[in-house]
Amino acid sequence: MDNIIEVKNLVKKYNSFTAVNDISFVVSKGEIIGLLGPNGAGKTTIINMILGILEPTSGGVKILGKDSIKDRAEISKNINFSAVYAHLPLNLTVYQNLYIFGLIYEVENLKTRIEELLREFDLKKFRNSKAGLLSSGELSRLNFAKAIINKPCLLLLDEPTASLDPDVAEQIRTKIKEYVQKNNAGVLWTSHNMREIEEVCSEVMFLSRGKILLHGNPKTLPRDHHKKDLEELFIKVAREPLEIME
């Protein structure tokens, strides 16, 4: 089976407000899919439903053929995430953070794996530093190290490079691409940086008001809609979603 994740007719309603409206898509092995849209479009809601921390109103998410809510603990072993709003405990050291999450994800040969990650993400010198003392770039590297500690086959990245300088953002992007290539993993990536999305994603979905408006290759999609680039298309989707739908 090449599909890692299958989202089918996913709906999330909060009373009369529909945050996610009948969304379906798949993410296959080796794919990096961009989930784009203005603030409040429903991107994080979708990610939360995939993570199993938000129950859909209807429809469902299957990860490796299993239900994201009912089989959460089992499938969570094979997925992981990094999000700007999900902080690692800042009062623990870099090593302690990785050790605790390594135990939770039941990582084999944990100590060796942590050493690998510390080396790979240039965190060795910070191993005994409290996470709260790291710069935002170092913290992002730690977050990403935690996100791949269990070598997940699905990575959910909610604005992984937000608030990073271009150099660190580039390092993180490179690490993610390397990880996907090496492990044949699938990635669902949200970002407001259109250049980044063009660079890393093989496919993008534009969301507006909880619906997928556009779906396609980030390199050809702007041209198909008579726009110069992805950023211009994003602005169009954000400001005039109805026109796009027509």
Binding site: L51, F101, L103
Partner: protein
């Protein structure tokens, strides 16, 4: 349930205590202050001799045991609050960690602080005041077990309350041990309470424990009536534990639906 994941939740709390001596001290300083304060009060009251002496020795023991109960309850609650304060909820709840494993980890960390606190209190009581908390023999294990289960139940219930109504509900948790100590007859016999409050006392497991302790210390043995009372206390504490767990699960399921779990922070409430 996998022990390795329970250990992960426990070790997180252990690292926090180990990593900051102020935090470490704050976990035990109240136990030390309590035992010193009540030790001096008991010593003073004992100087009157007779019935007052008996009251002082019984109450001193009861206070040590009640402190243990409160410490267990607060150990669970503060472990839970740590995850709120550090906004770590998503990392835990979006991981393979199951709810029973999370709760078991919190219980384990509360045992760590509770047992160290009890050891400190018993040690200080023995060394400074010549008071032997273990003089009632093996029965102490039974009393401690009931109080431990009750402390765990209250800790889980308060955590569920915070989980449901947000971190602002934290303030409710601090006076609860005082209210419970009042109804449990820690400092006086339950019969001292007005008849309406006696009804409440009858549904609190700790009241049976403290009545049992007083009676055992006064008579030197455990009567049949007292044994039945302790049995009722034990059953009640287990019932409280199941009820607390059920409430926590219900709140979790509710938060899963409303989205409160995904965006749990002080700002959302």
């Amino acid at each position: 349930m996998k022990p390795v994941k329970i250990y992960a939740v426990f070790i997180r709390q252990f690292y926090l205590l180990r990593g900051n001596y102020i935090r470490f001290m704050s976990a035990f300083i109240w136990a030390i202050l309590d035992v010193l304060l009540w030790g001096f009060i008991s010593k003073y009251l004992s100087s009157f001799g007779g019935a007052t002496f008996s009251f002082a020795t019984v109450t001193f023991g009861a206070i040590i045991l009640w402190d243990f109960t409160s410490r267990i309850q607060q150990g669970i609650m503060t472990a839970f609050l740590e995850d709120i304060w550090s906004q770590n909820f998503i990392n835990f709840f979006a991981s393979p960690l199951k709810l029973p494993e999370y709760i078991a980890g919190m219980i384990l960390s509360s045992i760590m602080t509770g047992v160290i606190g009890l050891g400190l209190m018993a040690g200080i009581a023995g060394l400074l005041f010549g008071y032997n908390i273990f003089k009632i023999g093996l029965l102490i294990a039974l009393f401690l077990f009931i109080l431990f289960v009750f402390g765990v139940a209250i800790g889980i219930m308060i955590s569920a309350l915070i989980f449901r109504y947000g971190p602002a509900a934290e303030w409710v948790s601090w006076p609860i041990p005082f209210v419970l100590s009042m109804l449990s007859g820690v400092f006086y016999p339950v019969s001292t309470l007005p008849s309406l409050l006696v009804i409440f006392a009858k549904i609190i497991p700790s009241s049976y424990v403290f009545e049992g302790i007083k009676s055992t210390l006064a008579t030197g043995s455990l009567s049949e009536a007292n044994a039945i009372n302790i049995f009722i206390g034990g059953i009640l504490s287990v019932a409280y534990l199941f009820f607390a767990y059920w409430i926590f699960i219900r709140v979790y399921q509710r938060n899963l639906k409303t989205g409160a779990l995904a965006r749990f922070s002080a700002e959302n409430y």
